[in-house]
Amino acid sequence: MIAEHFPILVILTPLLSAILIPLVGMIRRQLCWHVAFVASHIGFLISGWLLLRVRDTGRISYWLGGWEPPWGIEYVLDDLNALVLLVISFIAFMSVLYARKSIEAEIEPVRIPAFYSIFMLFVTGLMGIVITGDVFNLYVFLEISSLAGYALIAANRKKEALLASYNYLILGTIAATFILIGIGYLYMVTGSLNMADLRERLPSLYHSKVVLTAFAFFTVGLSLKLALFPLHVWLPNAYTYAPSVVSAVMAATATKVGAYVLLRIMFTVFSVEFDLHVVSITSILLFLSLTAIVAGSVLAIAQTNIKRMLAYSSVGQIGYIVLGATIVNETAMTGSILHILNHALMKGTLFFVAGCVIYKTGIKDISGLKGMARRMPFSMAAFTIAGLSMVGVPLTVGFVSKWHIALGAIQADMWYLVPVILLSSLLTAVYFGRVIETIYFSKEPGAKKSGSGLNEPRGRAGVQEAPFGMLLPTLILAALCIVFGAAASTSVSYAGAAARLLLGGM
């Protein structure tokens, strides 16, 4: 039955489409988008199916080429990565939908086939990282997605984007090579590359200095990849200058995948016991994530460029994900995993809106948004929802994850974390509040005195919304911010299962 091969098909679909797209592009350039759209849609559907399947039957192990692990490569789907896989494929699907118009405006037509091809490769890489159960295979996919990512950032060939991309390339390569070193060290003392196998073989070696070094390199490499605070330097420029859709998809997925891998390495390859008692990495990461949360928020407040503000906000939000993981209890871990999902939705929406504004008006600065609510009411509503969600207003997704992380902190008797979490919510409120206020209350520059008395113009004539193709994914994501915030039981139970899986040894 074909369903048995879904774990590989979910990777092959975008990969094959990446190869197909340039070929199709030779015939008709317009068709490229359609291929990408169909492929990402299939990828999304398969991921959804896989998630349900995992919930039904538990862990799925797929042996590539029929070779049993640890000799062959194994694809594994469990509660954690099935969820992350779905998030990625969904965001990718939405981004492709969004990309059509957005990319036409930002990239010359002749380079569009190559763009979609690389975009799909990027998605392939991310999904491959998530699904694989083999550390070296993970490295290969990591490099696929990284390479594609560098090119995507520079795809609009803007001056700043080129430099941002180059810097990201250098740091990304360092990160990947560090991870490669980690893999090599683990291999050296265990002889295995399979995650499940490593987990079995490692405990007796926990005090080996080789293993400790391997762990250190994994942590540093991954922290670079996921832009944990002091290693975040590549992120703001990359997100600011990349094409809109690229910023959105990277912010929503790439760093999330980094976070996922960190969780995998910390809790699946190694164990809670190792993290807590052998290296006490959790306390280091705890400290770093707190710094990230505060510093990210403070830096975001200082920004005037919308996308840069969102980028710094990402730095802070990544802190939340790591924080939840380092508290090491089920509730906080659930929050952390939920935040992977939730932040993807929120940040996706926000970057989409930023892209809509740029598409329609070319405005990049917050001050330019004055009175934008009248011109682009739907986009701005989406922005408001996602912004409130970032703040953590109840009934939005942001609240759900922050609630779990904060509650987890209390349960773990780490009371002192609660004020930090909540204060940073406040900082978030400051920088989003500022934008929202500008959107709704500041008078449009040059607009005449807006409305007086009974016959106030509703300004329908002045509405200049982004095209439907860009608006639709934006609104879908914004709606999901509320849906998964108001009826969070499902996502909480999924994330809870994933958290129990990670902390299985407790």
Partner: protein, 127 residues
């Protein structure tokens, strides 16, 4: 003594890696960084290949007279990694060409200086 002789391969790899690493982060010339990157990555490959070596082993190709074979797995991994490395280099070089086209230089300092002036002028013209 055993310790020194037994591990010098690993030490050399560390030395090489650090040379490359330093060039990557400290050199201002974009091409120099890439040269550093190649040294850096190749050094790690050396480490992998060193793991594979077994004293008295022969190349991992079926041979009746062989008593011990070297470990083939790291070789496989590094074959892949070399390709990845050269691909990264290619993309980086493409970027460098574009950067040169835009800025007329491949020195980080000079580019950063130009960027400091640039945005101000551009935001002025935007509004």
């Amino acid at each position: 003594m055993d310790l020194i002789v037994g591990k010098y391969n690993y030490w050399i790899y560390i030395a090489l890696m650090m040379i490359g690493f330093y060039a990557m982060i400290a050199k201002g010339n974009l091409i120099k960084k890439i040269i550093g990157m190649n040294i850096f990555q190749t050094a790690v490959f050396l480490f992998y290949i060193s793991i594979a070596k077994v004293r008295g082993g022969t190349a991992p190709i079926l041979w009746e007279k062989a008593i011990l074979y070297d470990n083939p797995l790291p070789h496989v991994l590094i074959l892949t990694a070399i390709v990845v490395s050269v691909s990264t280099t290619a993309v980086a070089l493409a970027l460098i060409i574009l950067i040169y086209r835009e800025f007329g230089t491949i020195e980080e300092d000079a580019i950063l200086k130009m960027q400091e002036i640039e945005p101000r002028r551009r935001t002025d013209s935007q509004q």
